[in-house]
């Protein structure tokens, strides 16, 4: 019947219905879905982007990238390398006030999502 048709989609195998553990999403996954569905994730992204640009964090990261690229030669750099280079510095140089504000907002969302 359906097997006559050409498969146009690579479907992963249907999970075994007897295996209940596999179906339960983690708390993080559930929160993530709620964040996306409510639109809060996008708003948070824009907010963080704006604040990190304003305080010069983005420029700082770009400077580090450019220095690295200059050193390695611009054709020898992969995206992974760049991400690896700026991630630790990026995390360390987030201004405390911005981090606190964002965390506060996220916690508020979590509480409201729980109700």
């Amino acid at each position: 019947m359906l097997k006559n048709r050409r498969q146009s989609v690579n479907r992963p195998p249907t999970p075994d219905l007897t295996d209940d553990q596999a179906k339960v999403p983690t708390l993080q996954e559930v929160i993530n879905i709620k964040l996306i569905e409510s639109g809060e994730k996008e708003q948070l992204m824009e907010l963080v982007r704006e604040k990190l640009t304003e305080c010069g964090w983005k420029d700082e990261m770009e400077t580090i990238c450019r220095a690295y690229i200059k050193k390695q030669g611009r054709k020898n750099v992969t995206l992974d390398e760049l991400v690896r280079v700026i991630t630790p510095k990026g995390r360390a140089s987030i201004p405390d006030s911005i981090k606190a504000e964002l965390l506060q907002r996220i916690r508020t969302f979590l509480v409201s999502a729980a109700l």
Binding site: V48, E62, C65, R66, V85, T87, K99
Partner: protein
């Protein structure tokens, strides 16, 4: 929804809440970091950062110039009249490029332009005295705003009356003190 009920009711939930918030924050930060890296990567690979190549060229040129300076054959004192700069160029003491003065149209040497312009535009003492007779009288006649000359109030208001759109207000006493009122 059991997860969330426990989240609110139990103190342990506060720890979980904080951990979750940190995780969400970390997620956001990672996304933005990837975006920044991605943009830089793209610009680098496409060679869109013009400054990069220019900077390298500048560094090369200045390294070259430094080498030339270090070379004793380019010693400044030995050359006497002309000084050699770091790019190996010499410049005459007075700029000798010639162009046309935009005021009087004469051909002037660049190094002599400032003094010429002083005389040419009447900024110098002699030139200003010379100009007093001819140009300042003309300037007074055509001054804007309230008519300055109090010697002939009638002639100025008369001309205002001619120019007005027939508004009777302009023709009567309002303008007698010499000020102009636009209708």
């Amino acid at each position: 929804n059991m997860f969330f009920v426990t989240l609110v009711k139990f103190p342990m939930s506060i720890v979980v809440c904080v951990q979750l918030a940190l995780h969400v924050f970390g997620d956001l930060l990672d996304s933005i970091t990837v975006d920044v890296a991605s943009e830089c990567h793209r610009i680098a690979r496409l060679g869109l950062e013009r400054n990069l190549d220019e900077e390298e060229e500048e560094l090369r040129l200045s390294a070259q110039a430094r080498a030339r300076i270090a070379d004793p054959s380019n010693n400044v004192e030995a050359n006497g009249k002309y000084v050699v700069d770091i790019f190996g160029q010499t410049h005459p003491p007075v700029a000798n490029e010639i162009f046309d003065c935009m005021n009087c149209g004469r051909s002037i040497m660049a190094g002599r332009f400032a003094p010429h312009l002083e005389k040419c535009m009447g900024k110098g003492r002699k030139a200003r005295l010379k100009a007093t007779r001819s140009s300042t009288a003309a300037q007074n006649r055509y001054s804007r705003g309230s008519p300055v000359s109090t010697y002939s109030p009638y002639s100025s208001t008369a001309s205002i009356n001619r120019l007005s759109n027939g508004n009777p207000r302009a023709a009567t006493g309002e303008c007698s003190n010499g000020t102009v009122e636009e209708p």
